[in-house]
Symmetry: C2
Subunit: 200 residues, 2 copies
Amino acid sequence: MMYSYSGPLAKLINEFTKMPGIGPKSAQRLAFYILSIDKESVKDLLEAIDQVKKNIKFCSRCFNISLNDLCDVCANTARETDKICVVAESKDLIAMERTNLYKGTYHVLGGVISPINGIGPEALRVAELMRRLQKEEISEIIFAFNPNVEGEATILYLSSLIKPLNIKVSRIAYGLPVGSDMDYADENTLSKSFEGRINL
Amino acid sequence: MMYSYSGPLAKLINEFTKMPGIGPKSAQRLAFYILSIDKESVKDLLEAIDQVKKNIKFCSRCFNISLNDLCDVCANTARETDKICVVAESKDLIAMERTNLYKGTYHVLGGVISPINGIGPEALRVAELMRRLQKEEISEIIFAFNPNVEGEATILYLSSLIKPLNIKVSRIAYGLPVGSDMDYADENTLSKSFEGRINL
């Protein structure tokens, strides 16, 4: 007899396997965690999932996650509304905000162009961005995507749409991470770092 | 303004952080996954968690996870009921069953002795094991714990209780994993492998 997980546990392991970064072993460990916690803790977890699905929506202007019609950034009248930083996901927006440097607004694309994964511009909030450029008075667009092929392709595509509108377009710099060791940097990073050298 | 995750999302990230092997970054990724999936998928997940909590109980004899009063192993009349393989968790039982080699029964301790984590014998199902040794006719006990200090301590403790009962006691072998390279084995593993050498 080949013994394996019985019905409900197998199902839960399967559900966890669908989550990003969760392999079969992690999924098993999570399922056993669920088994081990008391009723109150399970209720907390289910409630937290439910609340997120019920209360979090997308900002009607920039598509950042939000509890209200406008997100905290868009609702903040102190922000510089003539700048848009275009990011792939809300978590990238939050990463940018942590720097406490950028005072403009955002636009959350909902991903990046990725032909391999069948994601073209029409699957992203590109049309919404272009509408904002017509309606709002925008003087600068900053792209802040992960430094990889998909990010580059998205920048190339969006630049070709936006540059004709006479709007300043830039992307955040690629280079050596602060505190890192040149000796250990990969060639691509070092190449980008050299190309993007700053005049002193 | 320092921007961070708004109420419900922060709460969900916190819930995920409680799970084993889930750090802050993974928890964030999981929360965004929950945000991204449709209502049906969320329902499937919540339902799976609920079913596990509702339907999975512990075998009244060996404390393996089970849908019924007796687990699949204990309910199987073809198993050799005079042998007990003592494991820490149900997942170790399932690992043993995958070998398709052992035909006896099990006893799931619910953990191992770990003074550092404040887990003594009274926190484990040791009394339940000793009761089985009195009630059932047991001729052999095999310990199958992870090869580490806690596992060794648990074996030492249980052996001292069981050996006086004139029951054969053994533990599974430690040594080189099949397919591994001697050259890469750590000293402890190689030492255990040497100590446990088999006469030919």
